[in-house]
Symmetry: D3
Subunit: 235 residues, 6 copies
């Protein structure tokens, strides 16, 4: 980055390259587990992140926010940068469970076209958010509010729940977790996911009919090579 160091917290980028909307939308049909496999098992957020209601699902281009502990000022700054199809990805500079986001910000985000929020901290008003159908993945639920005193940044690279996210990346989130698809890789990931999905559908059929993974994955020989012993007597 070519900003002086002291500006790292205090930058709002208004123009970011976003993943192609069509490419993004084609990812929406895949589950997070399938996409994560397709990507070669990178880009997954930590499993402590949980949706606030069952059935939550989202696929959007990331508007990133870097927050200070207990301070949600930059969420308001981020609101202005949201375009339809975006999802907000919020990281904090230290561990915090405060409720940075509630129904007011959700109203604003929704009005700007956001399709969800992923936040490595807490949220509140979860009953109202559920009623609004605004999906959120968070590490905590907390009624504790936040202040507006110290700037952070918007649309800078962040680390959220253990995953590196750049503005404009595609974020897909469902009941299994949250995966980050780098902006330019969306088409390739989609292709790989589709292939994987097709293969899994065939596999599913065979398994349903009672075939064993041991057989059609061809795992038996290697088991023997590695010295696994089948024992038939009852102990």
């Amino acid at each position: 980055m070519d900003f002086p160091l002291t500006h790292q917290l205090g930058v709002v980028r208004r123009r970011i390259p976003r993943a192609d909307a069509a490419a993004r939308d084609r990812l929406a049909g895949f589950g997070v587990a399938t996409l994560h496999e397709a990507m070669g098992r990178v880009g997954l957020m930590k499993p402590y992140m949980r949706p606030i209601y069952a059935g939550a699902h989202a696929c959007g281009t990331a508007v990133t926010v870097l927050l200070q502990p207990g301070d949600n000022w930059m969420m308001h700054v981020a609101a202005e940068q949201i375009r339809p199809g975006d999802i907000v990805v919020a990281a904090v500079t230290a561990e915090c469970t405060d409720g940075y986001f509630g129904d007011l910000l959700a109203t604003s985000f929704k009005a700007r076209g956001a399709c969800g929020l992923v936040i490595d901290a807490g949220v509140r008003d979860v009953r109202t958010l559920t009623g609004m159908g605004f999906p959120v993945w968070s590490k905590a639920i907390s009624a504790k509010g936040t202040i507006k005193a110290t700037p952070g940044s918007v649309n800078v690279p962040v680390v959220c729940a253990g995953a590196a996210v750049k503005p404009g990346d595609v974020i897909v989130a469902d009941a299994d977790g949250i995966v980050v698809v780098p902006r330019l890789q969306a088409p390739e990931v989609r292709r790989l996911a589709r292939d994987r999905y097709a293969k899994e559908s065939q596999t599913r059929e065979r398994l349903k009919n009672g075939e064993l993974g041991l057989d059609f994955y061809g795992l038996r020989t290697r088991l023997t090579e590695l010295g696994v012993v089948y024992v038939d007597k009852e102990e």
Copy 2:
């Protein structure tokens, strides 16, 4: 307290001053987040406390219980002290996840008029409790039962999930957490919550219409003062 030290565990207060019933009931219409804000952001229990079913909501006057680890004797003692409109708030003298409370005690509490339970430990029979519509907020769910060997206390001041609770305080609990409103402050908190709610309703309308928090909270000027830089080039 004027009891000798050795009686701190071993006291049951039968007469406690309770928050005024009407004042208490007027708090029931507010969410925990709103009340917590109205109180100046004090009195919130830790976010690890979770309702055992979605949609749980309660507002009652606190009957407090101080329990020993793995021992639910005082829950039975507390049952007798419950009056209609009360909520039981149970603390333990050490960390414990045992299931102190199940459908039998819930039957008893309900028969006495309790509207819920907040317990810094575990509960069990959660399916039955859900069927009964008896709301519980706990730190764990565990089938592990408890014994009845060592006395604790009922209706003494306790610390539950990080919050100080006095018998007779108003407890409001919902999906966002649990807030403790000191007995005599119920009317003032209600007034402040109502004002806050009214203001938030207006805000919500404006946000829905696309206005930005940045503008009507007047946050732009201070952002500039603090050196936040808006950048337009794409990196």
Copy 3:
């Protein structure tokens, strides 16, 4: 065990003594809390184990699996050992939250007659699993997949979530947790559970009518002996 030490990881027992099917099924009607009490309060898994959907319930004979961290190979080996009425109990040799199990394995397990899975690690595809009605209790939900590189064992004694499980033991799991009933004790546990349940039903009736546990458990005298003081003045 009479295998050389180096084979402890690398054993698949094909013939295990299972708890009698009728005895097993008679346990299905009891809650985990009741069974745990009936057993004298042993055999419970840790409360961090949670069902992936509300209402999950299972009762089966254990097929055990000992997995390596991040490696689900032995789940496929276990599939072949499943018989109708079994439940798979999976332990890992180190702490791991990876998603060892998803809809493909669930399809296979179901085709073999398994009635559920208890795993001291992560699972994925939870939405599909929920749709299939295949109940799982796990310590995490994670989209992270696993490899097939290092053998573990099937149908050896394991420690899962803090409980010792032998192949063929009866596992009962519901919203309150998971209890392990040793294979040969199923009939006795059932008898004790039934007695307990009957007694609790009577108790429930009396509590519903407003009687107090203090009275019919006869707890008042001992409270006094232990020096518990009832105080009537208001402080």
Copy 4:
């Protein structure tokens, strides 16, 4: 409290009743475990609180601080309220691991006569603090600094690591944890601790000589009454 509600965060009490200095100092010779027993097993902070160096020990009168998350302003306000023999007890209105306290504040606290710090959050500069011999008990060590934007309070009742603390209470902290002795109970607790200690010294001698607790605590009979069975065959 007779301050208006909105002032709860924003109060600095300059005059607090402190436990008698002689009574306080007489508690310093006892371990936390002994004092906690003497008090009837109440008043202990949670075991996640740990000293920053081995051998840390402190006994002082509490100057309390209620902090905002990520904001250490009130630590500076508290500094002015410290008198020789005090220990600062700092609570936060939400969970936070930031480093609120380092060698500069320690220099200031020491200059004012403080004998230690107990903080339900993080500290930093622990190597320097160790060199200074300034004992701190905290829940985290973190280099993350804090801001000075939002007032809290000084010398109000707080909940720190699960224990209620009033300004002027005696705090004793060592390798086993931290105990809170209410201000006026210091003399009685000291007397009870001394008796307990004397008794334990005798016990220690007898145990050293091979006598068994089973015998001189008279535990054998009750074991038998409760149905405990001694088994001699080797299984």
Copy 5:
């Protein structure tokens, strides 16, 4: 086991087969990591278990204890069963951090010849224990004492910190953790550990001289086969 179910908690076995003393002592010279490798990577307790002082090391035959939450009665019962060279391994029927063990019990255990304690709960008086050189591995340090109300068992199979332990097994504990060597496998494990240690010593020499594991483990070819790419340009 041939005791009726209700006696599972309530059994004290006085005669247990212990691992051969010479075999046990020969294990003492190996680190836990080496032994765990030698055993094929089974039998390790969870890494949350930590020694109470740096340099703690122990190797003994297990006297097992099954405790109730918050109740250390059976520790006194266990004391009587200790013979020189034993180490006590204590499990609890539910999660608990209470301080079950302090300097009095340590005095007693030491007088009986115990060489240490492994406990899946809390201990106290750690400064004195350190001074006595009595090594303890625990999951918590807590000044909280325990009661003597409910029996558990002594010398029954237990699960401690995720590992199954039988009375008489060899327990080796050091800075890296705690490993359980089944009673009859001590000689074989010792042989395997010695071989491993010898091999590691040679390896150490070669690594010290700058040879690479990549080369003498022969890892390069397989890296290439798996498609790993070495890149030389600087990005």
Copy 6:
């Protein structure tokens, strides 16, 4: 990155731009807390990372490793890429506490000139590592070993304990934690740290003489503006 997606795990970069050695070494004299402040409070790893021995300190240029769960193959690959003055920074694609690193790898790393290791997982042989004076910061200590089956990457950007690290960045680690100084910013961070340190030294002198932070930070006026009330009566 211009590698095809499927190669993200499976890349070893042999030539990386490293921070200037002189610039790096000039950072070694500063504490992590000071550097973190100088950087504007970004770049800190999570506080769960802890040194394996007291007094550990390191400052080096990062060689990064991306590991698979339970697999330390790439640590051996990384060894070859180490140059004198480097520190290895190891991330895992999923949560894992296994012991990836022990005295053998330490011998190798040291022979290549590494000055330490930062790993978001477990390590073992900590007593030997301490004896060798080889500093390690980790999230766990575990005797559990790892396999060599699945490739990861070396010298790619990683997220370690919540912080983004690029190969060649400067890593400074001490008792307070670990900070990442981006490669090209080392000189500026050093200048800012020096200024900050100088200022703090002056501050320290004044505080030592009893001056209050309240005064020379000029905090009193704003306290009043924000409505903080000083109270003199004793309640």
